[in-house]
């Protein structure tokens, strides 16, 4: 067994939270730059240029890429040979709290009924998965809610089939218009149960932007949805052009014979994510 202290987890998460807010990862920066290259609208090209400049300013000045520094979503892959000395879940929340405080990030978490801000940006939403090995992997996805609010889930009848999946995803992204800050990254979860579909839709966002699913039929479905979205012409900020979405990531999970859950988790162009291995 390999031991890790709770404090190690806290400090790692603190650093991930700060870095995620102001240091846009290479995958999404490259996707934005590639979108600018193929963009057909001159206004959209200039807007993409501003988004790239925005990322540069953020990195240089340690200023958040977007003022909505999100609700923290933490994915933990806990190796079965790892023992965390102390309270893992408390250590994660403390890391998020410290990151938001020390990084001058916005506290955006509130009680759902009273709407009173917790002033710490906690609690984060935490998903823990037990995996083989003696390492602990932390992924931090600060989720802005302009895009999160545009997400949705349908329990389709199996007769809807693949065509029904494509139509639902396209319909949701088109209906979202400029609200989620396009060009978006679309996470899609197909199968499982009500909550499993939503969870894998979010996990799909952790995949490097544009990396295709290893299953050929799933990859083809991703390409089909992406092509349809970009053909519609909503474009950057909803102001027209051929870059409504940068990528579609679709994950599947076996489901009930009666069921076809489809979850669409929309992510803005400010697709902030960081991970580390302890």
């Amino acid at each position: 067994m390999r031991e890790l202290s709770a404090e190690t987890v806290t400090l790692a998460l603190r650093d991930l939270a700060m870095a995620a807010a102001w240091d846009l990862e290479e995958d999404i920066s490259a996707a934005l730059a590639a979108a600018r290259e193929r963009e057909t609208s001159s206004l959209a090209r200039d807007l993409l240029g501003i988004l790239l400049e925005n990322a540069e300013i953020a990195r240089r000045e340690r200023l958040p890429i977007c003022q909505d520094t999100g609700v923290g979503v933490v994915f933990v892959e806990l190796g079965q040979q790892v023992v965390v000395r102390g309270d893992l879940m408390a250590a994660i929340q403390e890391g998020v709290r410290l990151g938001y405080q020390e990084g001058f990030l916005r506290n955006s978490v509130c009680d759902p009924l009273t709407r009173k801000n917790t002033n710490t940006n906690t609690p984060a939403v935490v998903h823990v998965e037990s995996v083989p090995g003696d390492r602990l992997r932390l992924s931090f996805l600060p989720k802005g809610c302009g895009s999160e609010n545009m997400s949705s889930l349908a329990m389709l009848p199996p007769s809807a089939g693949v065509a029904g999946i494509v139509d639902f995803v396209v319909d949701r992204v088109v209906a979202a218009g400029s609200n989620p800050c396009p060009p978006v990254v679309v996470g899609v979860g197909v199968g499982g149960t009500f909550e499993k579909a939503a969870c894998i839709a979010k996990q799909a966002l952790l995949r490097p932007v544009g990396q295709r699913h290893p299953r050929a039929d799933v990859a083809a479905l991703e390409a089909e949805i992406l092509a349809r979205l970009n053909h519609i012409g909503q474009g950057v900020q909803g102001l027209g052009g051929n870059n409504t979405a940068l990528a579609v990531h679709l994950e599947v999970y076996p489901t009930h014979i009666a069921s076809l859950p489809v979850a669409v988790n929309i992510q803005c162009h400010a697709h902030r994510h960081k991970a580390c291995l302890l």
Binding site: L63, P64, Q67, F104, S108, G238
Partner: protein, 188 residues
Amino acid sequence: MPDVFDQLRKITLPLDEEVIASLRAGDLVSLSGSLYTGRDQTHRRLCALLDEGKPLPVDLAGQLLYYVGPSPARPGQVVGAAGPTTSYRMDAYTPRLIALGLRATMGKGARAMEVRQAMQAAGAIYLAAIGGAGAFLSGCVKACELVAFADAGPEAMFRFVVEDFPAVVINDAQGRDFYEILREARQS
């Protein structure tokens, strides 16, 4: 600054009547001057004050209200990241504020039909700022002062002085909607 933005029409805030009347859906503008900010909680509280027959902390007549909840400023900074939040969440409150004389709002995303009708009736406009460009837009904010609702944290109401703040006119005072114009052009 990229090419298209060299041709922005420079506009001074608060907006004057002639400027409002001359703006058209789709115009790219660059704003300089003072504006007020507010998002969900500020709107909720402004309307609660109206319900109670109490005065508002500021006179909104003739003003522009920018939907933003900035991130905290580091020591020595004017403001943190300061890009727009999604506007539809304010739709439930906006007609009431327009009735008080509010002349412009700015955020991102489309507005409800009731808001568009209220704007057209009052000759008010709605602008979209660049969503997700909070660090870039922070540099256009030259002063920031707390106006009201301090306990709402990032949702408090501030007064900004902005300089060369870029935006797109979405709804003009004549009732045109730029998102709708673009959608119709795509479908035809």
